[in-house]
């Protein structure tokens, strides 16, 4: 390494002075890295100019097929207005790593407090944290909370069959160390009603998980009964939902949910292919069992309203191995953007957006149902943003033919496809319907 790089602050002379001061001749002497984990070869990364790198990357990216995506199942493309980009890119928001210091971070802390307050209204539960990584890790934390607060023995979490495998895999991974086992409720591939749950639940069950809308887009209509059954067995009722859907549906907290999880990145990010913003909301009884960061409102020494991280005795830097969670960070900037977006929409705007997601899914399902060889939706019910359609033709082949025509939809198995539509793809539904008509003919 030589001095003079614009990206490295220390010159060779700086380094030598520091080495002399601590009495070693080489930086290597400061580290003890075993040979078994050292890489001794050349990294074989060619160095080019910025312009040449940019050109090569652009050329490579141009080779991607640019499909119109009607994909969903947990990740959705919603339009995020430019005012959110503009304000959230201010350096005091974009470059502040964390909000430990209330004396210099009031703006950010206030935004996070407002994010929490919005989630409290949407979920119908009195406490929401400043976010987790994503819905799956929030579900893992909900299971850990259930196993901590439950009086009776047993740490089984029951999940419906419709929950995506990826989410269940994260849940199992989170629960393994705490002795939590995850069991699917038989006969719940499309919906979870009290009857199949009654057959599966026993005293070993610490939590029952349900979703609305489900991974298949279905708005569940018997959440209250499912929650009652969970409570009769001294199990926590955990509901996975969506922040836009909750603007329209009855809040899960009013239907008995003890914990609500979900992913709010739909409001804070454009399509991000995986990055999330985990919602975590719960009841006041579990205040000291909440994982992650909480922003609280207080007053400063002049009596003015002020915000600060609060109840930190739950967290690792104070509680060590007995902390409520090993997550001591959050998705602060995405939460900030979400709060900005929701504030920009206002309650009416958010509700209207939610109504549109019901209409778009319903209209598109009706049109696909009119095509011979397709039944949409595959089962009766109300749908949000997406639905499953049954196809006479092999679903994988149908999805492949659509890909050739520039559209991406998800083939679930041999006879089912899932189609998601938002305001960003609403204008392309005519073309999609025409293409599906072609490939099913």
């Amino acid at each position: 390494m030589t001095g003079g790089s614009p990206f490295v602050p220390h010159t060779e002379a700086d380094r030598q002075a520091m080495l002399d001061a601590v009495g070693v001749s080489d930086v290597e002497e400061l580290f003890d890295v075993p040979a078994s984990v050292r890489f001794d070869g050349d990294l074989d990364v060619p160095a080019r100019s910025e312009a040449a790198v940019r050109s090569e990357v652009a050329t490579t990216l141009d080779r991607n097929a640019s499909l119109t995506e009607f994909l969903g199942r947990g990740h959705y493309d919603h339009y995020v207005p430019s005012v959110v980009d503009r304000i959230s890119a201010r350096s005091e928001f974009l470059t502040s790593y964390t909000q430990y210091q209330p004396e210099v971070a009031q703006g950010f802390l206030q935004a996070l407090f407002e994010y929490q307050s919005m989630l409290v209204e949407l979920t119908g539960l009195p406490i929401a944290n400043a976010s987790m990584y994503d819905a799956a890790t929030a579900l893992g934390e909900a299971a850990l909370l259930a196993s901590r607060v439950r009086d009776a023995d047993g740490s089984t979490v029951l999940v419906p069959e419709y929950v995506r495998d990826e989410r269940v895999s994260v849940l199992e991974n989170y629960g393994a160390g705490a002795g939590i086992s995850v069991r699917r409720v038989p006969g719940t591939a499309r919906t979870l009603s009290p009857d199949p749950l009654a057959d599966a639940i026993d005293q070993e069950v610490a939590a029952v998980y349900a979703e609305t809308p489900t991974a298949r887009g279905r708005i569940e209509e018997s959440l209250g009964g499912v929650g009652d059954l969970a409570h009769q067995h001294d199990a926590l009722f955990v509901v996975g939902s969506d922040p836009i859907a909750m603007a329209l549906l009855e809040a899960p907290g009013y239907q008995g949910a003890d914990v609500v999880i979900g992913d709010a990145s739909v409001l804070g990010l454009p399509t991000s292919y995986g990055m999330g913003l985990g919602i975590f909301a719960t009841k006041e009884d579990y205040l000291r069992q909440v994982p992650g960061r909480l922003v609280g409102a207080s007053t400063d020494d002049a009596g003015r309203r002020a915000y600060t991280l609060t109840l930190q005795t739950r967290e690792q830097h104070i509680r060590r191995e007995r902390a409520t969670s090993n997550i001591c960070t959050n998705q602060a900037w995405v939460a900030l953007r979400t709060a900005m977006h929701v504030a920009h929409l206002g309650p009416d705007g958010l509700i209207e957006k939610a109504r549109r997601m019901v209409r778009l899914a319903s209209d598109l399902a009706d049109r696909l149902d009119g095509i011979a060889g397709i039944e949409a939706p595959a089962s009766d019910g109300h749908y949000f943003r997406e639905f499953v359609a049954e196809t006479d033709r092999d679903a994988q082949a149908l999805a492949a033919d659509l890909r050739d025509r520039g559209f991406a939809i998800h083939a679930i198995d041999d006879h089912e496809v899932q189609v998601a539509v938002t305001e960003t793809t609403a204008d392309a539904t005519d073309d999609l319907v025409a293409a599906i008509r072609e490939v099913t003919a």
Binding site: R288, T313, I318, R319, R322
Partner: protein
């Protein structure tokens, strides 16, 4: 600074006290002073069976959370519900209104495992 250490009580090295006559349990004057302003207390339920040395709850102050341990084995016969709403009682009156719970001793011999007031006073000197 000297702390109040009543000599009619038995103590744990981890700063809990028990009254051998009533089975009443709390934390010491020294402990409440070390913790600072206490803001939250979590207690066992009435009827819970505790083992000697078992952690029965937490005492949380503005700067720390401490697990608290049962001085003896036995069944919890009463809890001091006042401390849920007034955790500052632990600071104000650790041997009186700030008591935590009462336990029915399963084995009075276990009291011999604890420190006397004099022994505890010398520990915290």
């Amino acid at each position: 600074m000297s702390f109040d250490v009543p000599t009619d009580l038995h103590y744990m090295e981890s700063h809990e006290w028990i009254d051998p006559d009533t089975g009443r349990v709390g934390i010491s004057d020294f402990a409440q002073d070390e913790l600072g302003d206490i803001v939250f207390v979590d207690l066992p339920d009435e009827g819970d069976e505790l083992a000697q040395g078992e952690d029965f709850g937490v005492v949380e102050s503005i700067k720390a959370v401490s697990d608290v341990y049962s001085p003896v084995s036995g069944a919890v016969t009463a809890i001091n519900e006042r401390v849920f709403d007034e955790p500052e009682l632990l600071n104000e009156d650790p041997y009186g209104d700030g008591w935590l719970f009462e336990i029915e001793l399963a084995d009075a011999g276990e009291l011999d495992d604890l420190l006397s007031g004099e022994e505890y006073a010398s520990q915290i000197e």
